[in-house]
Symmetry: C2
Subunit: 180 residues, 2 copies
């Protein structure tokens, strides 16, 4: 399933900030919209559009999947009025690694899933894959959380950025959002 | 990078046979064409069109990647005048497995990469991923080989179909092709 995040002047999410964490930023916009991309349909107008695919998990083991399923909540919770869209591009070096090497960095060294688990169910998330469809980023990571967990979310992001995995991130933009 | 295989009346590859191995077949055609899909460009006409993305390897370890790289040859070799397009759809059960479970079936049990290695460099191949872009198949597997290796290729296909991994294949069509 293919989706597009459209940054512009309209959409349910109001943009609080656009920060270039590494590499070039995105044009600042005031609103963000998300919609499924259907062949032959026109896209809404916007300043920019980032597309991604929902796919299967690439690294999680059975026990990690079970832990995630037991703890996580879905998107769209009424209380989750804050969100973050964090598009990420990893380096050529990352993509030249084999599956076992990527897995070892992702989890055994960087504890990506284990860190994320700590913040469940407060922070709900969805990963969109963009690399294989010629997009400027490899991943669009999306998070939703209630405002009272904003500090916990900063914590989560800081812990991930301090991992070895993040040494392979060559571009990262961080958009913070809120809705009524 | 997104590509489309177009089955119809034109294209460099002449279709020798279209066989439904499991599940529904594809409409028989006489020729096959392959081209990159670009946004906004018209597709050539055909009876059907199957699209897929070239992506990174999902299961191979560093040593397996090294073995593949050392032994394989590229597509488009003048002597490789035979080809096979084998679109495959795996079951919901397969896709509900975690990464470690899929890896164990793919390689530790079914020896998918190890079997393929046996037929290098004679059989060159390219995998296209289709599941995440709403296609009828999950994968389009493409093989090219010189006519004198046709028997070896039948061997390769038979060995893969006898694996535990293939118990998760719920639809498979096998097109054989040749070019001048």
């Amino acid at each position: 399933m293919r989706f597009a995040f459209v940054g512009g002047k309209a959409g349910p999410w109001r943009v609080l900030s656009v920060t270039a964490v590494r590499g070039a930023s995105l044009t600042p916009v005031t609103h963000l919209d998300l919609y499924p991309v259907a062949a032959g349909k026109l896209s809404p107008c916007g300043e920019w559009q980032l597309e991604g695919l929902i796919s299967n998990l690439r690294y999680a083991t059975r026990s990690e999947v079970a832990n995630l399923k037991a703890a996580q909540e879905g998107l769209g919770r009424p209380a989750a009025r804050r969100a973050a869209l964090i598009p990420i591009k990893k380096s050529r070096e990352w993509w030249s690694l084999a599956q076992d090497e990527r897995r070892a960095i992702f989890e055994e060294t960087s504890h990506h899933t284990a860190i994320g688990l700590t913040y469940l169910p407060a922070v709900a998330r969805q990963l969109y894959h963009s690399r294989d469809i010629g997009q400027p980023f490899d991943f669009l990571t999306w998070f939703e959380y209630p405002p009272e967990h904003a500090e916990a979310f900063e914590d989560l992001v800081a812990r991930l950025r301090a991992t070895e995995e993040w040494a392979y991130v060559e571009r990262e933009v961080d958009l913070r959002l809120e809705r009524r």
